[in-house]
Subunit: 144 residues, 2 copies
């Protein structure tokens, strides 16, 4: 039922997922407490396997081409509460506890801080809780 794949140790639950041609799946992170949608990022098989094993969100950074343990620079780890899969098996939903209450590299709680107003303008609707320079250090990697 599944396409061939290189990792022969890949467990069945990983193979149930409809990976993209690039071997990725979008993963939405939601605050398990208040339900806020914090961010969406991408995972490959290894990222999702590690997320399950380690109990913290691990993504695949498409821009850097490597695994990205959320919080590795910022300290803003996401502790896993639940992993969900959608009906088409092509999107993951993580319910997490967000350390520091900040998921976004801009220092905001959620990455979805821009709101489309009635005039068709994107406006910043949520406050910066912490200066990114103080999270990452000036000149640091603001995307972890």
């Amino acid at each position: 039922m599944q396409d061939s794949h290189s990792d022969t140790d890949s467990p069945d639950w990983l193979e149930a997922i409809q990976w993209t041609a690039d071997g990725l799946v979008p993963a939405i992170a939601q605050d398990a407490g208040n339900g806020d949608v914090l961010m969406m990022a991408w995972m490959n098989r290894e990222a999702l396997r590690l997320t399950f094993l380690e109990g913290h969100a691990v993504y695949w950074s498409r821009s850097r081409g490597k695994l990205w343990r959320k919080g590795e620079s910022s300290g803003h780890e996401q502790t896993l509460v639940d992993i969900r899969l959608d009906c088409d098996a092509d999107v993951i939903l993580l319910k997490v506890e967000q350390k520091g209450d900040i998921a976004c590299h801009t220092g905001r709680r959620s990455c979805f801080y821009r709101r489309l107003d009635r005039n068709g303008e994107w406006v910043s609707a949520d406050p910066v809780l912490k200066d990114p320079d103080s999270i990452y250090g000036a000149g640091g990697n603001s995307h972890e």
Copy 2:
């Protein structure tokens, strides 16, 4: 700042979005009331423009290659409350009122009804609220 695009009438707010090479953007639909993440689908410029203009979620069906007005078969429309954009401008979050309280074509509230248990098995964690046959008619298009 933006790549060239075919629709010269496309407003600035649409052009602020980082569309994929295929001209799409992932869109998460969240229940504006209780915060449940209902589904994720894809939009092209026209789908997002219509969502904003009409006040109901319109997606782009990749499998059928056409616009998909959510609820067109099921009646389960999503009334728009808010449109959000993430920090990288490549993911949309819609806050919606979900008509019929059912977003999923399986007759469940949310598409994310499968949960990974501790043994690494996907288990169905949410109930079917309505038989899909009674939503779409037997033999109907269960993906609308």
